[in-house]
Symmetry: C2
Subunit: 150 residues, 2 copies
Amino acid sequence: MSDGVRSRERRKADTLAILAGRGADVWVASASGDGPYLVPLSLAWIGERVVLALGGSSRTARNIVELGTARLGAGHTRDVVMIDAVLERSVPVGQAGEIGERYAAQADWDPRGAGDDYVYLVLRPDRIQAWREAHEIAGRLLMRDGVWLV
Amino acid sequence: MSDGVRSRERRKADTLAILAGRGADVWVASASGDGPYLVPLSLAWIGERVVLALGGSSRTARNIVELGTARLGAGHTRDVVMIDAVLERSVPVGQAGEIGERYAAQADWDPRGAGDDYVYLVLRPDRIQAWREAHEIAGRLLMRDGVWLV
C-alpha cells in the first residue's frame, strides 16, 4: 500500500460491504430518448445481483426495461462503487418469493405493501469499478464482462 | 413543521448551502445513444449556475455538449438536491477568467493546471427539487422553468 491506495482485493471487500450494507442506497442513472434520468433508491444485494424496488410505471423502471441497462453509483462521491448493469428480469411484488424476503431484510422498507404496480428489477453487474479519489483511478476496475478480476 | 418535514423556504436555504459548500460534489447523469452515464464530480455554484470542470473529450462532456442537458444529484441519497440543468456554455480552462478563480476557491482542486483539454461546463438549473426521505416527497419542487418558487 502506497499513499493510501487500496489493493484491488481490498476494494472488492469494501465494495461487497457497501452493497450488502443494511439500508444501502444507490444513485440510479437511466436514459431514454428524452435524455438522462437519475434518482436515489434503496438496493438489496442478492446472489451477486443488484435488486431495486420501484413503481413499474415510474420513469426509471420504464427506462431500464426499455433500454435494458442502467449505471449505478453506490457509496459516496469520494468512496465510489460504480456499476454498469444489465436488466436480468422484472418481478411483480406479488410474485417475489425469496427476493421479497431478502429485499425487506436489507432495505429499510418493504415494497410488498406499496401497491400492485411495484416491481423488483434484478440487475446483473457487467462492470464494477471502485475508487475513492483521483489517486485511486488506476486499479479501479474490479469486474469486466460480468467476471470479477480479483 | 410537522413530522420533521421542512418548509420549502427551509429547503431552499439548505439547497443553497449544499451547492455553495466548499468541496461540494455532484453525481452527474448524462446520456447518449449508448445509454446512461454517471460520474461524481466537484462543482462550483457561481451566479446561480452549476459549474463543472472536466476533460472536454470525456464521455460526460461529450454527452452534455451533444444533448444540451444533464441531471445532477447533489447532497446525499437521504438529503437530495436534484437538478435538471441546461448547458449554457463551455469555456476552455485557458479562457476562464473569473470562473477559474471562483471554481478553484470552492472546489478542492484547480483544473487550470490539468491540461488544455479541460473545460468548464456552465449549467443553468431549469428544475430543482429537494427532499430527504419519502415524507418529504410532497413539496419537493423548488424551481420550475428556471424560476424559484420560493
